[in-house]
């Protein structure tokens, strides 16, 4: 059965490593914070100027001066810090943030990503996404494998305007975990009960299948 959003978030959470600073995009990536494996210390960076982002405040304690990049009221954990936007993007561009998790409308087999603009539709802007994808050493994309018409979103070449080139390293979709290699999408894991055939059919870009593909283990 294909993963739901929470399943994707849980699978991505398994990628976290102790001591990492992590930037989570809006949507599914935000959910990752709820499933940090035990024994692992990570800190979340919010590009509007906050490191050590904590959970939503207790009702009545929300502060208009303390929001995340999604404009939601948040808290600061012990050991957190606040800074200006130039310093925040210094952390990002300077590769001090070890992992970026973000959504995508399309990913190409060479790691190109498109997630900010659909021609003909209202453009909201790229926010910090272009800085994040151009800078991060380690980018995981959280996405649905296909769009609502059933068309693949893992493509030979992106059809939408790009956010960044050759930058995506890993994809966790509702169907599979894939690594972006020099030769295309390498299938690492299948969602529980999803066949390699189904993933093949849902992937337009080059798919590399080597040996047995294990099922994801999600608690």
């Amino acid at each position: 059965m294909a993963l739901d959003k929470i399943g994707i978030a849980k699978r991505i959470a398994q990628e976290l490593r102790d001591g990492w600073y992590v930037n989570l995009g809006i949507g599914i990536p935000t959910l990752v914070a709820n499933y940090i494996p035990s024994g692992i210390d990570v800190e979340f960076q919010s590009e509007n100027g906050l490191l050590g982002m904590g959970p939503f405040p207790i009702e009545g304690e929300e502060d208009a001066d303390l929001i995340n990049a999604g404009k939601q009221t948040v808290t600061v954990l012990d050991g957190g810090s606040l800074f200006d936007s130039a310093n925040s993007f210094a952390m990002i561009r300077g590769q001090h943030v070890q992992l970026t998790v973000l959504g995508a409308m399309e990913v190409a087999e060479n790691g190109d990503i498109a997630n900010w603009k659909i021609p003909g539709k209202m453009v909201k802007g790229m926010g910090g996404a272009m800085d994040l994808v151009a800078s991060a050493e380690n980018i995981i994309v959280a996405m649905m494998h296909t769009n609502k018409h059933g068309d693949s979103k893992l493509l030979k070449k992106c059809s939408l305007p790009l956010t960044g080139v050759g930058c995506v390293k890993k994809i966790v979709s509702n169907l599979a975990v894939l690594e972006v290699t020099e030769n295309g999408f390498k299938l690492l894991e299948r969602a529980p009960g999803v066949s390699v055939e189904e993933i093949k059919n849902a992937t337009e870009g080059k798919l590399i299948i080597e040996g047995d593909i294990p099922e994801m283990v999600i608690n």
Partner: protein, 233 residues
């Protein structure tokens, strides 16, 4: 000690004219110069170019100036929360330049720091880099980005002193210190104005040298866009 205090928002915005380029601090509605925006609306200046990370919401922040069609061009990284903005943009009344958020921040800082241009990886290979110089350093591709040329910068701080020193609170800091550096004339409005000497010089975020005018703001609404909470247990 050089005194930067002006008595109110009217005096603070002396000299602002139609056609000018303005920087406005804030991220979403967090840390926006509410008093200065209201006064810009009151002054009725038009054909403004506004450099600001966002464009407010329909009836607050820069949305107030959009409603009155005072803005000719927005330079922002994200403008998603505003129907009137969308209408004006699609009808061609409003010119919009979208730039990556980190590039926006760094261009503001560069403006204030006398750096005319710098290289950044953001936007390489995308339409943001179209027409711009690109270049390889250590095997990676970068885009050349330039400083801005703003006339005024409007920033909002938590505390300020009569010498123009500013301290920000929480994530209301965001673009404010960078734009303060960049303005030819920087106007700072503060929630609390104190005498010079009351703020710890070690803890000042923006030095008074970057601020030309400072005033005690009034009636802050500090609207929250997304009130997300954990229920009391």
């Amino acid at each position: 000690m050089i005194n930067k205090v002006v008595k109110n928002v009217e005096d603070a915005l002396q000299g602002v004219q139609s056609g000018m380029t303005l920087m406005l601090g804030g991220f979403g509605l967090c840390g926006i110069p509410e008093n200065s925006i209201s006064q810009l609306e009151k002054l009725g200046v038009t054909d403004l170019t506004c450099i600001s990370n966002n464009a407010g919401v329909d009836n607050f922040g820069l949305g107030l100036l959009l409603q009155k069609r005072q803005i000719k061009k927005m330079i922002s990284s994200y403008v998603g929360e505003n129907d009137e903005f969308e209408r004006q943009m699609l009808s061609g009344e409003l010119d919009v330049e979208l730039i990556p958020q980190g590039t926006l921040a760094e261009r503001c800082r560069a403006t204030g720091a006398g750096i005319p241009a710098f290289y950044t990886p953001a936007g390489y290979g995308t339409e943001v880099a179209e027409g711009k110089e690109t270049r390889e350093f250590n095997g990676k591709m970068y885009v050349l980005e330039h400083a801005f040329k703003p006339d005024y910068a409007f920033v909002k701080a938590w505390k300020g002193d009569t010498a123009g020193n500013l301290i920000f609170k929480g994530t209301a800091r965001n673009f404010n210190p960078l734009m303060a550096m960049a303005g030819k004339i920087t106007v700072a409005e503060v929630e609390e104005l104190v005498p010079a000497g009351e703020l710890d010089p070690n803890q000042i975020h923006t030095s008074g040298i970057f601020v030309q005018r400072i005033f005690q703001g009034v009636a802050y609404e500090k609207r929250i866009e997304q009130r997300t909470v954990t229920p009391k247990s």
